[in-house]
């Protein structure tokens, strides 16, 4: 069973978001990492890059599949998890902690309202199966 964390918000593209002030920390869900399988490569966005919500900012690659990373909120990339470049498997091992992808300084916090609650996301993934 894929883990869904109560304190996080989720997108339908299987990213999770946790908000602290104007900053949103983003990663991919346990369900997503499990569907992808062994992750062997990640392409991270550059720090300083400005993005608009739902933009593709990089990729996660498993042995078999290439998958785009979409960021569900607009803003500026202020930090990326560089540890993933050498150890992309952290996303498999710890999708909600060690495997976070980047931190965005949000320009429009109201976009968060579009995201799913943990409970809604859990229902959403069960429908997808």
């Amino acid at each position: 069973m894929a883990e869904v964390r109560e304190e996080l918000k989720y997108s339908k593209d299987h990213e999770w978001v946790i908000v602290e002030g104007k900053r949103a920390k983003i990663g991919i869900s346990d369900y997503a990492q499990d569907s992808l399988g062994d992750i062997v490569f990640i392409e991270l966005p550059e720090v300083g890059r400005e993005i608009t919500a739902n933009e593709n900012i990089g990729v996660v690659e498993s042995v078999k599949a290439v998958s785009d990373i979409y960021i569900p909120v607009s803003g500026t990339v202020v930090e990326v998890n560089e540890a993933l470049e050498d150890s992309p498997e952290l996303i498999n091992e710890s999708p909600y902690d060690e495997g976070w992808i980047c931190i965005i300084e949000m320009s429009d916090s109201s976009e968060l309202e579009q995201l799913l609650s943990a409970k809604e996301y859990d229902g959403f993934t069960k429908e997808e199966e």
Partner: protein, 366 residues
């Protein structure tokens, strides 16, 4: 949406934790535990594969050998009973119809083992080439009633032997024995496989598939045997540079371009495609299959374009992270002038050039 085809083992996949996907029209397990773990499992211990989707065609009759000799690139007349041979069917222009194994059961009985996606095409090809007025031959597709299990890896013999009423060590590479009793199931046991490891393939009646699968896994418990999906099968064969039809070979790629000259025997007499292949051999091929490793960060994938100084010189046929070598590697078909070991290449990954270098293959040699 077309309904997916299932092997006789489909009903029990889930109980082993299989992740089932559409694999060229078949519902097959891509993985059980995870591709990398399964890959290492086979390299270090042993793994059990369901490859029942592969096709089996019986070619029988007085002229079976002459007929197969005419449509194969390899020299079928060299086969003795209980021996198998890797060969190609080629089109007149030298492109590849399929790559396959031919098993000589007896002088007038041969079993062809062909790629799942090519079964219908191969049958059509066999019938098209068969001249009924010249050759007395029957062609029978036995794919439906035949299941195929493969046990591969260094511990294969040790695991399988206690189940069999035959001394399996006696079976040399590319040899086989019919009617071996394995865990109460009658099997044709061959020392073949598609992983670069030692191992066996067991051809059995479809109705016996679940019984044998469970018996082998049970016997393998003490030796860490595990079921392996098709994801790891692909990374294993790729490290050993075993070609995959549809990637390293297809109707536009000849066996000579894929570097498989050894299986094309010009001195055996006429065969379909001989003229075109001989010309390729005499004038030299224009493209060559090479192996490369990524120098910069990136995973090469089949279909990505290969460049040199901004000029496209070829295409990646297979690319992946190599679980054994722990780096990103690939096979590519490139212009012959860019095919030397050490040559630097650019692989176009998402509109960017990423550096790679040609290295020796197979990537992994035993």
């Amino acid at each position: 949406m077309q309904e997916l085809r299932e092997t006789p083992l489909f009903p029990i996949y889930k109980q082993y934790g299989a992740k089932v996907i559409d694999f060229g029209g078949w519902a097959l397990p891509v993985q059980f535990q995870g591709i990398i773990e399964e890959h290492q499992q086979v390299r270090e211990h042993a793994g059990l594969f369901d490859v029942s989707h592969m096709g089996q065609i019986l070619v029988t009759g007085k002229d079976a050998e002459r007929f197969l000799q005419y449509i194969s690139t390899n020299d079928i007349s060299k086969l003795t009973d209980n021996q198998a041979m890797y060969t190609f069917f080629c089109y007149e222009d030298g492109g590849t119809v399929d790559d396959l194994l031919i098993y000589r059961l007896s002088e007038e009985r041969y079993m062809l083992v062909v790629n799942a996606a090519n079964i219908e095409k191969d049958l059509e090809w066999l019938h098209k080439q068969h001249r009924a007025d010249t050759w007395e031959v029957s062609i029978n597709d036995i794919s439906e009633e035949t299941a195929l299990l493969a046990i591969q890896g260094p511990k294969s013999l040790e695991i399988l032997q206690p189940l069999a009423n035959y001394d399996l060590a006696q079976i040399k590479r590319f040899r086989f024995v019919e009617q071996v009793n394995v865990a109460g199931v009658e099997a044709l046991v061959s020392r073949t496989g598609y992983t670069g490891e030692d191992g066996f393939e067991l051809y059995i009646a479809a109705k016996d598939a679940i019984t044998l699968w469970e018996a082998i896994l049970d016997a393998g418990k003490a030796h860490e045997l595990a079921p392996i999906g098709l994801g790891a099968r692909d990374t294993l064969r790729f490290e050993a540079k075993l070609p995959l039809y549809g990637q390293e070979l297809n109707k536009d790629i000849s066996p000579l371009e894929a570097g498989l000259d050894y299986f094309v025997k010009f001195d055996k007499g006429d065969f379909v495609g001989r003229g075109a292949l001989l010309q390729q051999k005499q004038t030299g091929v224009e493209r060559k299959l090479i192996g490369f490793e990524m120098v910069e960060r990136g995973v090469p994938r089949a279909g990505y374009h290969v460049y040199n100084d901004g000029k496209q010189i070829g295409t990646v046929t297979t690319g992946s992270f190599s679980p054994t070598l722990k780096k990103n590697i690939g096979l590519a078909l490139v212009g012959v002038h860019y095919a030397d070991i050490g040559q630097e290449l650019d692989i176009e990954i998402r509109n960017k050039y990423v550096k790679a270098r040609i290295i020796e293959t197979p990537f992994l040699s035993k």
